[in-house]
Symmetry: C2
Subunit: 305 residues, 2 copies
Amino acid sequence: MSQKETVAVLGCGLIGASWAALFLRAGHDVRAWDPNSDALAGFEDRVAGPLEQLASIGGQKEQQGALSICSGLAACVQGAALVQENAPEDPELKKTLYQQIEAVVGADVIIASSTSAHPWSDLSVGMKLPERLITAHPFNPPHLVPLVEIYGPDDRIVARAETFYGGLGSVPVRLKKDAVGHIANRLASALWREAVHIVAEGIADVEAVDKALVNGPGLRWSVLGAHMAYHLGGGTGGMAAYLDHLGPSQEKRWASLGNPSLTPDVREKLVEGVTAEAAGRSITQLEAERDAALIALAKLRQKSD
Amino acid sequence: MSQKETVAVLGCGLIGASWAALFLRAGHDVRAWDPNSDALAGFEDRVAGPLEQLASIGGQKEQQGALSICSGLAACVQGAALVQENAPEDPELKKTLYQQIEAVVGADVIIASSTSAHPWSDLSVGMKLPERLITAHPFNPPHLVPLVEIYGPDDRIVARAETFYGGLGSVPVRLKKDAVGHIANRLASALWREAVHIVAEGIADVEAVDKALVNGPGLRWSVLGAHMAYHLGGGTGGMAAYLDHLGPSQEKRWASLGNPSLTPDVREKLVEGVTAEAAGRSITQLEAERDAALIALAKLRQKSD
């Protein structure tokens, strides 16, 4: 699945637009549909921004694919090798879509759900060929963050999907088991729980926590995983030595981590803290700053490839 | 405290060497001492590596300071404006050192502990001027990761320390309250607990978890803090809208996060997993790869300043 394909994008919001840009740039033709006619009408414009950002990174190898806006689901998915589903996080809605897709497409077509909230086992219920469904969860913003977390029960189908997403310049990561929150959002939730605890307890304010993360562990985790960091933390003895010497301290620290609730008081601290950190910058400005920084990192990673 | 100073480095291991390189490069003179004569004898050589790495990043503004190896604690700390203490994580040992330092230095000298394990309140016990002690915790490797987490009870002393560490090109972050693990290691522990859970439960292997982190949340956290990420996740309504719409799902996910123990079975999975991820690379090779990537990021951040 690394040659030029036709890919269907179902659901034309921000995630759909970001996927479409990645697909087009890799040379695939994209057929898009959304039941909301406004979303559909504005889609080409919303794909233009991500496409421009990808162009600024450089390194395009294929001639850009063509984008078609379709008038209905059947027209959209017919002839597609892969359907990327970005519908709202409503399992019933998604399951209905899968039935409609299965009624139209051949047995070898992969249906890939961008779902962040629902596991494969919930979404595949009632499908004719459940193994053709995979979860393929991108990390926001998908065209600038390479991770795609993939789960499906059929190794051959998952392998085909990995080849496809890898061909976009994305980094597919395979789960061995279905899990709510996949890997990345579980890690992010775990970290944020402690970040909220630190603010709730008055240890540091929102801006200080974010600054510590961006200039400390976040920076290091952009080049070295958490497990590998402790492997290096063990010196020449690696992870085994780390666990011997510092495993008990880690368990002790785990026991001391917080378990906050999002009470009105905590909520106020978070909203006030992040408002102070934003220092008058709008969401749009903050997103533009984030994107500029991610684009610079993407250029750097491309150079070192 | 931004002019050229004399800085004492007590404890000449890896952290001490990394600090010394940062101090020297910012133009400060460094006086170093360690009770272990082998550590002391090899110190200049161990400082040379970090100094070379810093030189490769470029942007040095001051003439490099001079390094003196001292024959005893008193000789080392006399005349220093700041003492950076990097002794082993033994509170009794550290407290004894502080008494010895206080017997020699003037009242305006700051004693900064690199401790990762002990809070200020434990270490300051028995000091003549406890407010002169601060914790100033770097993140490994200190000369390539800018974060320095600072806590002290006296705002003026902490402000002087922030100016000093900021002058090194580091990023000082102030804690409002003393806390075991400061900010960064609390966040790192919280994330790693879930990373261990994911491996223990067989959701994904060690290498997949690390790959997901480095290409997903880690990458994003190198440019955007965890709180700010959810502010953007709320769309135009920011953090308040995020908490309204997705606060309950976060609390639900928090409740579903794991609470693993480092049992022999889990330990084996971690050691085997990280061995597979290392794929034959030695700790030295892995450190060199980490450092090369961090140096590239430091160059990028310098360019965008």
